[in-house]
């Protein structure tokens, strides 16, 4: 009886006993969730266009942030540093396409996946040799203090980061829906062979999609780097995106967004209301558990494409 009370009564009593705090937890979870979505988006873009699960997305976030801060530390003005970082990520995409992807065309997905694991270690090591392993401060000028909305404290930085992430998503939506390149990307995503047959250059598309993913990595690197300092741990942020992908589906941009929000709110509620009775620090594994529960009902994720095999 006590067990039932601990798990099924007390947490809910605590939630509804303090609705203002519950609202704060939910808002905190939503804002964090948007940041998870930002990292997840990088995975989705590449998987959608090429079927490659890019294990190195976290390393790309680290590499982008290290490059940006490294340039700024050497006196390069912030906007020029940002522009140079974008170009570096395009150059990286080009190198990846030339030296890795083009040599693995028509290989099994697992081989491409293994190649991205290698790429991940390469980027982490190369980034540290090039820019050093010390923590680097990244100040983007957004205050860290909270503002109060209807009595609920909201961190200004988190709010700004969420808005920035939302802006990137909107930009990507326009790019995919309204531009010829975006339409070509969607065509490649739907069917490689059909896209090739109507003259869409696959290698160019791959270069573009890896570059766009690199751009998303810069934004994620700036946001997470400003929160914790730019350091090796940034590459581990990819682990936070995995349950989002499982839940939202590997091929859906809206899935990454909604998945991020569900995971963000879910893990915060679990940690705060059920964490204390389970010894604390449950949010990491809870996120994966939540994603797996969704998988039981929708194996392709919330917004993933349904897997139909005709025999």
């Amino acid at each position: 009886m006590e067990l039932l009370n601990t798990f099924f009564v007390a947490p809910f009593a605590s939630m509804f006993g303090s609705p203002l705090f519950l609202a704060e937890v939910i808002i905190g979870g939503l804002l964090t969730g948007v940041l998870y979505s930002l990292v997840a988006l990088g995975f989705v873009l590449i998987f959608k266009a090429s079927g490659v699960f890019n294990f190195s997305q976290g390393a790309m976030v680290l590499f982008a942030a290290l490059t940006l801060v490294g340039l700024m530390e050497r006196g390069v003005p912030v906007w020029l540093a940002l522009a140079l970082t974008v170009l570096v990520m395009i150059a990286l995409a080009w190198l990846i396409e030339r030296l890795m992807l083009s040599r693995l065309v028509n290989q099994e997905g697992i081989i491409l996946f293994m190649a991205t694991i290698g790429l991940s270690f390469l980027l982490e090591g190369f980034g540290q040799i090039f820019w050093g392993s010390n923590v680097k401060r990244l100040d983007i000028g957004i205050p860290n203090e909270s503002i109060h909305l209807a009595g609920i404290p909201i961190n200004q930085f988190d709010l700004f980061a969420a808005l920035m992430a939302a802006g990137v998503v909107a930009l990507l939506a326009v790019f995919f829906q309204k531009t010829p390149t975006g339409r070509a990307l969607r065509a490649v995503a739907d069917d490689h062979q059909a896209a090739l047959s109507i003259g869409i250059p696959l290698q160019r598309i791959w270069l573009i999609v890896w570059s766009v993913s690199g751009f998303v990595a810069i934004i994620a690197g700036v946001v997470w780097g400003a929160k914790s300092g730019v350091q090796f741990s940034l590459s581990l942020i990819a682990l936070k995106a995995l349950p989002v992908l499982i839940l939202g589906g590997f091929t859906s941009v809206p899935g990454a967004i909604v998945g991020g929000l569900i995971i963000g709110v879910g893990e915060k509620i679990a940690e705060i209301y059920w964490g204390p009775v389970l010894g604390g620090a449950i949010e990491n594994w809870f996120a994966y558990m939540l994603a797996m529960v969704f998988l039981m009902f929708r194996p392709q994720g919330l917004f993933g494409e349904r897997i139909i095999e005709r025999i």
């Binding site: 404290p153 930085f157 914790s228 604390g280």
Partner: protein
């Protein structure tokens, strides 16, 4: 020239090469050094210059290297015996740490002098090996706290203090700030800890002290690596503690300090363990970190004679180069202290066994008979830098005192006198844990 994507990429690479050529890559001095000719004393170095904990590992590795270099250059070695050393990269990974141990233990004229694992996880793995290989371990202020009981842990030393001593000193400090230990009754203390064996070390001590003094203790675990702590700090805001203690590590520290500042928690009531009190922990938080406190068992800064000697003999007075190698930072100075303990243990062993290369078991004797008085510390340029140490057969911890330091936005300053631990609580706990280890492992405690 035709402007296309390929050309843009090449131009970008050229610009970057130009930017980097004006001082781009972080300079790394040679990690390993072999002195030529004569007798040599070999010190293995388990380092982590890469990986998620590299920001802490780099200053430590540089500090060790520079102290050994100083002794060679300034004194011609230890009583004429040149120091040699070799770094092995562990990435703070226990498995790699054990591999490094195996790789380095037989190097040098007489094998490894001793090991400083600089990781609680690696220390735990090496404890059983130390007695077998007859190579002592000195885990300075970390590792297994009950190794302070030398009757059971003959080959392991953790002076000058332990996590349990530090936890009790924190409570004493809070008591003094509140106007007396009796004022702790009804106070709320939150412990934010790394969800690992290391992070859980102070819990038993803090719980016992909570029973004795009547304060409420809320424990909040943060999983590795700790980049996202929103729920932890929401709980802290709701709990509204009077004080926060932190047993953090790596990125967890920087995020926690930033989150504490974001919720407006008074930073002078937020105290971190000595692994949460270096420059890399506070600098990323910017202005918000001002006032944050941390435990320490040695001083920071470069004004100490020993640091001036390093500047003079190792860097030829080149302050810029010294600072680029973390000279004077908290973790750098910690390795200077550890390097000094290593060298003085060898010197103590030489006093008994002769001025030659000494073996691991002889160094163990040197560690157990180490007596660093105020006068000796003064000779070493460390008077006031660390507390005197006197190791005995039974006590491998020595005094256990710590002090509180405070970040002022640009440097760490002492914020308290030396605080002795609550030994009447801590020592029995150490002996009980050591006795339990001895029973589990069939060890008969030595009569000391």
């Amino acid at each position: 020239m035709k402007i296309n994507l390929k050309n843009i990429i090449w131009i970008t690479m050229a610009v970057l090469a130009l930017v980097l050529s004006s001082g781009g890559c972080e300079k790394k001095d040679g990690g390993s050094k072999q002195a030529g000719g004569g007798q040599e004393q070999f010190f293995p170095m388990l380092v982590y210059r890469t990986g998620p904990y590299a920001p802490s590992g780099i200053p430590v590795a540089n500090g060790f290297r520079d102290y050994y270099d100083l002794v060679n250059k300034r004194d011609g070695g230890i009583n004429g015996v040149k120091i040699t050393w070799e770094e092995c990269e562990t990435e703070y990974n226990t498995k790699l740490g054990v591999e490094c141990y195996e790789r380095l233990k037989n190097k040098g004229d007489n094998g490894a002098t001793l090991f400083n694992p600089f990781s609680t996880g690696i220390t735990y793995q090496l404890i059983p090996k130390a007695a077998v290989d007859k190579i002592p371990i000195h885990s300075m202020g970390y590792g297994r706290t009950s190794a302070a009981d030398g009757r059971v842990f003959e080959w392991v030393f953790n002076f000058p203090t332990t996590y349990w001593s530090q936890a009790s000193a924190f409570v004493k400090y809070v008591g003094s700030q509140e106007g007396g230990m009796d004022k702790l009754k009804g106070k709320k203390i939150a412990l934010v800890y790394h969800n690992s064996a290391y992070g859980k070390e102070p819990i038993a001590t803090l719980e016992k002290l909570a029973e004795q003094h009547g304060y409420d203790l809320k424990q909040l675990a943060v999983d590795h690596p700790g980049q996202e702590q929103k729920s932890t700090w929401l709980q802290i805001r709701q709990y509204s503690p009077d004080w926060i203690f932190m047993w953090g590590w790596g990125v967890m520290n920087q995020v926690a300090i930033k989150e504490a500042a974001a919720i407006g928690f008074p930073m002078d009531r937020f105290i971190g363990v000595w692994w949460s009190g270096s420059e890399s922990d506070v600098v990323p938080a910017g202005e918000g970190a001002k006032g944050y406190k941390a435990g320490a068992f040695h001083a920071s800064g470069g004004e100490w004679p020993v640091l001036q000697d390093v500047l003079k003999h190792v860097y030829n007075g080149d302050m810029e180069k010294a600072r680029a190698n973390n000279w004077g930072e908290v973790l750098y100075n910690r390795a200077i202290v550890n390097g000094m303990y290593n060298v003085e243990s060898v010197r103590t062993a030489q006093a008994k066994f002769g001025n030659r290369t000494v073996k691991g078991e002889e160094v163990r004797w040197g560690l157990e008979n180490l007596n660093l008085t105020q006068e000796r510390l003064k000779e070493l340029g460390m008077d006031g830098f660390v507390q005197p140490v006197k190791i005995t057969c039974a006590d491998h911890e020595s005094g256990g005192s710590v002090f509180i330091q405070q970040w002022d936005g640009s440097k760490w300053n002492p914020a308290s006198e030396w605080i002795s631990p609550i030994s009447e609580l801590v020592r029995p706990m150490i002996e009980a844990d050591a006795a339990s280890y001895a029973k589990e492992n069939g060890i008969t405690p030595r009569g000391c």
